[in-house]
Structure formats: C-alpha cells, structure tokens
C-alpha cells in the first residue's frame, strides 16, 4: 500500500488557550516495501503524524490517500486493519490473562474464525521470538518480552503497513537488534514499515528512506545518504556520518557511507595500509 500525505495540518485543542499547531502542512509519500524512518526532536510532530496514518487523528486540513483513495472514505475498521499502529511503550496496553489471548484480540475483532486466529497468533509470536511465552500472563514478563508481545498483537491483523512509534526505546541492545531484524524481515516480506525514532544510528542502519520533521514540517525527505549528510547539527546526524563528514573535505574519495559496515569499509580503505 502506498500512503500519500498532502499538506496535512493538525491543530490540538483549537480555539482554546492550549491550542497547538502540531503539523503545519506535511506532504510525504510512503512507498510499499520500504522501511521509512521518521526522525525529529520533541515537538516535531512525529507521534501526531503517526496517528494520522490510521486516522486515530484526523487532519484539520489536507488529505491522506491510501493507494489513491482518501482515507476518510474508507471504513475505520478496515483502515485500522490495513495500517497497524504500535504506540510508544505499547506494553502498557496488554490486558488479557495470557499472551496468546492478548495477541488474539485483534484477529477476534476481525471475526476471522478460530482456526485462522490461532494460526495468526502462532505465526506472529514465532516471528517476534515469543512463542515460548504463549501461555504466560503478560504483566509477569520482562520489558523486552512485553514489547514483543505488544508488537505481535498488532501484526496479528496482517497489516499492509506497520507504523511503530519508538519501537526500541528502553530496550537492551540485544532485544533491540532482534526487533530491527524483525522489521527488516517484514519489509522483505512486502509490508511497509514506518519507524519513528529518536535514535539516529538505528534509523541509519535500517531505513531505506528517511524523513526529518521539525516543528510540524518536513525538513528533508530522501535516502539516508541524501538526508543525513545535509544537516550541520550533530543532533540530526548519526554517528557514522559524524565520523566521515569531517574527512570529506580533504578526502572526498571516502564517499557518503551511512550504514556501519560500509562506513567501516570506507574508513579502512582510507587509512590504507595503516590498519
């Protein structure tokens, strides 16, 4: 599914003293089969944007199109099935007595039948490496385990697009790596992944394209290479680029690597026989 945002504006609490314009006319294309990373500081509008993709929030002006169709004309339940949204700290919403019952929540809402529901629960738990937790109560799990279960719960809807708001926040490095692997696998399998993250290094490793939001507007959209070599601010530049950029003036042959392996290779080449 391709999602297109056309000049989307969103205002919180309009007409009150607490009025805030969170999105000021964002235009963005989300392709199918890609991992799109959305980065930006606090107050940039990232979470607000995420909630527009499944119409939990509606735009004050502008349009959102899914495969060319205005999302406001699609039945809510169908839109939310096709665009799955995983919130920040999603484990706060786990509620069923066992993990498999919790993951089954969404398929049951879709009335898929017992067999299909069971199949989906099994497959998503397996994908997230949580099959062994099926009969456990969710609140007794570790933070990393809960996160996996929460994501499985959304994947059980078999969405065409998976939107995740800070999916690796608060996790230890090993669980983080596992999750990023899952996202890559989903993309390879045909699901679009939209990942909102404040961790630039992570986005640099995984994203096919990046969108930088600032104060409710998109400041840049493009491949990681195009985007991350543009900004002077260290706060918008992943570590790999921060290492390479000062070298490009005197040694342009180092190129514009972004991912770790390609950066290491380029630097080794540069340092030459010294390593």
């Amino acid at each position: 599914m391709r999602i297109e945002l056309e000049s989307v504006r969103h205002v919180y609490a309009p007409g009150t003293p607490f009025e805030v314009e969170a999105l000021r006319g964002v235009s963005l294309m989300i392709e199918s089969d890609e991992v799109l990373g959305i980065v930006g500081g606090t107050g940039s509008g990232k979470s607000t944007l995420a909630q527009h993709l499944n119409l939990l929030l509606a735009p004050a002006s502008g349009r959102i199109l899914a495969d060319g169709v205005d999302v406001q004309t699609i039945a809510r339940s169908e839109l939310r099935r096709r665009v799955g949204l995983v919130f920040q700290s999603p484990e706060a919403a786990l509620f069923a007595p066992t993990v498999e019952e919790d993951v089954a929540f969404a398929p049951q809402r879709l009335e898929l039948g017992v067999e299909e529901t069971r199949r989906r629960v099994r497959e998503t738990l397996e994908l997230l490496g949580a099959s062994h937790l099926a009969a456990r109560p969710p609140h007794a799990l570790s933070a990393g385990e809960k996160r996996r279960v929460a994501i499985a719960g959304v994947l059980a809807m078999a969405p065409e697009v998976l939107v995740l708001d800070e999916p690796t926040a608060g996790l230890d490095p090993a669980t983080r790596e596992d999750l990023l692997g899952v996202l890559r696998a989903l993309r390879d399998g045909g699901t679009s992944v939209v990942m909102i993250s404040h961790d630039l290094d992570e986005v640099a490793e995984v994203a096919d394209r990046v969108c930088v939001l600032e104060k409710g507007e998109e400041r840049a959209v493009g491949t990681p290479e195009e985007v991350f070599y543009t900004f002077p601010e260290a706060s918008l530049t992943p570590a790999t680029v921060r290492v390479v950029r000062p070298l490009r003036g005197s040694h342009p042959e180092v190129g514009r690597p972004v991912r770790f392996e390609e950066t290491l290779a380029a630097l080794k080449e540069l340092v030459g026989g010294q390593v």
Partner: protein, 287 residues
C-alpha cells in the same frame, strides 16, 4: 570469577561501598537473583554496572539501599548495614530510578524536591535554602510551580535528581536513569551527572557503554553472578566479554576498534574523525 576478570578490584583508598558474597532470591521465583557477589567501591569513584536485563543489576542497587534484605552475605554502605539501619543509610545514599514519572510524589516541582528534607525533619528555613540550591544545581530555576505531568522526561529526571541533591548524599545509585528518555533528555541528565563526578561515589547501572568509558571500574553482572570487575578499556578490547554479556559498544567506539584506534581515548565521533585524519597524514608522510 576468572582472575583476569577481576583487575578492576585492585585499587586503593578507603572503601565506601562493599559487598561480601551477597546472595538474594525474590520470594516465589525459581532462580536466585544474585549469588556470591563481592566488590568494593572506594570514595569518589565512578563505578559502572552493566549486563543483560534480569541479570541482577537493579536487585543489587536495591540491596545497597535497604529496599530489600540480602539472604546471605554482607553489605556495607557508608559504614552502615542497610538491612539494619535503612533510614540512616538513606540519609547518605540517593537513588535515581528508571521511570521518571513514578519517582515524583508531589503536585509541584518545589514540593517534590523538598520531600526528602521533610522526611528528615529539616527545619523550614534550611529547607527553603536547600531546595533553592538543588533546583539551581540541575538548571531548573523558574520551574518551581510546574506540575510534573507538564514536564518532559529529561526535566522530570532532573527534578528527581534535585530531590536527591537536596539531601547532599555521599553516594549516588543510578538505576538506568536515562533509558526511558529521548536523546535530548539523556543529554540533559548526563550533563548534570558529569558535574557530580569526583565529589561523590557513584554506581551507575546503564546499557550505554559510552557513559562508562571514563569510569574507574565496571562491574559486569550476568544471571546473578559478578562475572567481571574490570577497567573500562577491557570492555572495548574484549569482544568475547561483550558477546557473553550482551553488551554493545556505541557506533563510534566500534568503528575505532575496527580501525585499531583506541576507543577509550575517543569520546565522540568527531574525535575519531580527527584521529583518522592524523593517521592518514602520518601514512602519507611515511611514504
């Protein structure tokens, strides 16, 4: 514990925190949370505590603070036994928790910072002065009448830190204080913690190894055991240690290691870039 993994224990100075053969199990759980843990922290040291989740790091801090009592073994902190005299211990030991929200008690920032002082029965005039100083120390002047739910994660942790500093503790226990914060919040809190180095003894549990590169020594806890007590550069040089304990170096350090440059000397990516330029220049001059 293998001898080579205990190099960090060989230092000198008065001991301020020490554990001997500490063991603890949570009631009703299968395995032990901690077994046979022994280490020392000396006055003014900055000690890192790392290891996979569930390995016993938080449990250790709670034992030091008297929130839980060890099953066997000895604990001494500030010269006191936390199991026997928890109240006295808490006058000297401040603990910062992972969740910024759940440590804030009062409806206003000022009152929350005063909470610890109220508990100790400090007089009102002295309280006002200490609260003022603590709020200034964390850079939150002007925030006195703010309500907690209006603050960012980084601001909330700074309020919690101010609440600790108001009590002027000798020892600080930090339980992953930045893991629930975004990059900006993390920076805010780490800056303040930097300023406290050297004046107090600090134990810092974290997943971010870059925060520990200048630590005096680092404890590695895995499955309840202290598998290593080493100097930070060991974390960088020993890939097996990292792999077995699920530790990840930050990107710049990994690049430095891959290029055979010393990551312990290079704190930021920009410093690494400079080191690379120097190396390349040397290479050109050598030819």
């Amino acid at each position: 514990m293998i001898d080579g993994n205990n190099e960090g224990a060989r230092r000198s100075g008065p001991s301020v925190v020490s554990c001997g053969d500490l063991a603890f199990s949570y009631p009703g759980s299968e395995g032990a949370a901690l077994t046979g843990v022994s280490f020392e922290a000396r006055a003014g040291e900055y000690v890192g505590v790392v290891g996979p989740n569930g390995g016993g790091k938080s449990t250790l801090l709670r034992l030091l603070n008297g929130l839980i009592k060890a099953d066997t073994g000895s604990v001494s902190i500030g010269g006191l036994d936390p199991a026997a005299e928890p109240f006295e211990v808490r006058k000297r030991v401040g603990m910062l928790f992972q969740n910024p929200d759940n440590g804030l008690v009062a409806p206003f920032v000022e009152d929350d910072v005063a909470f610890g002082l109220e508990n100790l029965g400090v007089g009102r005039a002295e309280m006002r002065e200490r609260v003022r100083r603590a709020i200034r120390a964390v850079g939150l002047e002007g925030y006195e009448r703010r309500e907690p739910h209006t603050l960012s994660g980084g601001e909330k942790q700074r309020v919690a830190l101010a609440g600790l500093l108001a009590l002027d503790p000798e020892i600080l226990l930090l339980d992953e204080p930045t893991s629930m914060l975004d990059a900006a919040g993390r920076r805010e809190v780490l800056e303040r913690l930097e300023e406290l180095r050297g004046t107090r003894t600090i134990l810092h549990v974290t997943h971010h190894l870059d925060e520990l590169l200048s630590a005096d020594h680092v404890l590695v806890l895995n499955a309840g055991e202290l598998v290593a007590d080493v100097f930070p550069k060991r974390l960088v040089s020993d890939a097996k240690l990292r792999r077995e304990n699920r530790l990840a170096l930050p990107t710049a350090s990994r690049l430095a290691a891959g290029l055979r440059l010393d990551p312990a000397q290079l704190r930021t990516p920009e410093e690494l870039a400079e080191a690379i330029l120097r190396r390349v220049k040397l290479g050109v001059e050598a030819r």
